[in-house]
Amino acid sequence: MKKIMVVIGVVGAVGFLVLKEAGAGRAPEIKSGGLRASIPKEQAAKKSVLLPEANEPADDSPGPDLQARIEIVRNALPTVESIKKLGEEAVAHRPPKQVIEGGLALGELSEYLTRHPSEYKSATLFYAECALDSGLLPAARAICLKALTKRGPSEWANGVAGAVERVPRSIAEISAQL
């Protein structure tokens, strides 16, 4: 069982990048009754860019529930590509709705992790991928980085510390101001 979970966790991170490159601008599946998500079959057996050292302990990978929630957040995060399509009137002065949706999705994940603190370490894999993803709006990347730095390296999964060091300075500066 643990091996399966490792695969899901590692693939989720790669799938995230693939999804964003494909310009996924899908609406989040957030319902008042809770969160729903499915893990695409094609996300099988891919290696994480976050964990080049590989063969990491299985404990760091997200469990199925967390993984499902992370998938929802991934789909809700605003991409640079999707924002470009909106046009001037939608972005001047005020964030477009995609930013609010992304923020709410990250907020739901944060609440879940507050209720399930033991899963935080696994979630740091997602937060690190998010902070590194240049296809995402800087605001989302800054929030993801904040989710890591507010707790610190001792609670991160393996590989996350190295990833955090690679986050561009511009994103780190925004995050530090929050």
């Binding site: 009137e89 939608a90 609010i100 907020g107 929030i143 904040k146 929050l178």
Partner: protein
């Protein structure tokens, strides 16, 4: 300030406009009742804010130029000093704005902001309309959230060396003698369910925090003079997420920073906001901060006031 006015235009309550700022922002009667009530609710929320004297609040006070500790009163005062009137998107500016016949002299008359200036200086047409895109389909119609049309109208008047005035829905006239007397136009987007942090309740504290921050952002457009007049936005450079759009600031203390700092301050103080809502508000803050360009500098927040206005005597037959 050496103001010299002719009072040929009985309509123009110039004296009132040049006097001390209003004690509170006035909401035009044409603003839909539910929107007006929400704005009142937001004002009440701001008044009842419980601040803690934190370092964040001190940063906010410094940014706003507020003396001493930040307080709800200071925040309201700052806002009210820059917003005189809130009008509805249903009030067509083409009908409500007119050019007063006569000669207007402006300070720094040949100095204008480098970017974001009105596209046409020939007529008091509708200024740029900041909007949001609330629909879920790919093809959607942007709707208005809020814009400081007072600053834009002042700029148009200055370009034309003319005095513009806005006629309120009750017939009273507000001469646009300074961008500091902000004329804020709001639209349905400010309250739209899809643009709310809390979709269920329009007047939930999380939504109040967001709307108040938007007001502060727009109120900052009431500041500045000459090349910094209106603290206008800059075109975001290549490589920026909003590249090509006038959605960035070259000022470190401009509208995006002000909005972000208010979000940070009010989010921290929001006892009734959930963790989810607080992170969504933080995302809005992050988005605003991402729009402040590298190398941005503090701009002077001194503001302009019309130097003088002399009405056309031949038409009005009046003297000073």
């Amino acid at each position: 300030m050496n103001s010299r006015f002719s009072w040929g235009l009985g309509l123009l309550a110039l004296g009132a406009a040049l006097s001390s700022p209003a004690l509170s922002m006035e909401v035009d009667p044409a603003v839909p009742r539910d929107q007006a009530l929400s704005i009142q609710n937001d004002q009440d929320y701001l008044s009842g804010l419980r601040l803690s004297g934190s370092e964040v609040e001190s940063e906010t006070a410094r940014l706003l130029g507020v003396p001493g500790a930040l307080s709800p009163e200071r925040l309201r005062e700052w806002l009210n000093n820059r917003v005189d009137l809130v009008i509805s998107e249903n009030q067509p500016l083409e009908e409500a704005v007119f050019m007063a016949p006569g000669k207007a002299v402006y300070p720094e008359s040949d100095v204008f902001p480098a970017s974001g200036a009105p596209r046409s200086a020939s007529a008091p047409a509708s200024p740029s309309i900041p909007t949001a895109e609330p629909a879920s389909s790919e093809v959607s119609t942007p709707i208005r959230v809020m814009s400081n049309v007072g600053a834009a109208l002042y700029l148009i008047g200055k370009k034309n060396k003319a005095l513009l005035a806005f006629q309120k829905s009750d017939g009273r006239v507000l001469p646009i003698v300074s961008p500091h007397h902000g004329l804020i136009q709001i639209g349905a987007g400010l309250f739209h369910e899809q643009l709310r942090v809390n979709a269920e309740a329009q007047d939930h504290p999380a939504n109040s925090v967001d709307r108040i921050a938007t007001f502060f952002h727009e109120a900052r457009h009431s500041d500045g003079h000459g090349s910094t007049l209106g603290f206008l936005h800059a075109i975001c450079p290549e490589g920026h997420a909003y590249a090509g759009y006038p959605a960035c600031d070259e000022s470190k203390n401009g509208p995006y920073t002000v909005g972000a700092q208010i979000l940070k301050t009010l989010t921290a103080a929001c006892a009734d906001c959930s963790e989810k809502e607080k992170i969504a508000l933080q995302m809005l803050e992050a988005d605003s901060r991402s729009r402040v360009l590298a190398g941005a500098k503090d701009w002077s927040d001194d503001f302009e006031i019309l130097t003088s206005y002399e009405a056309e005597r031949s038409k009005e037959g009046a003297s000073e």
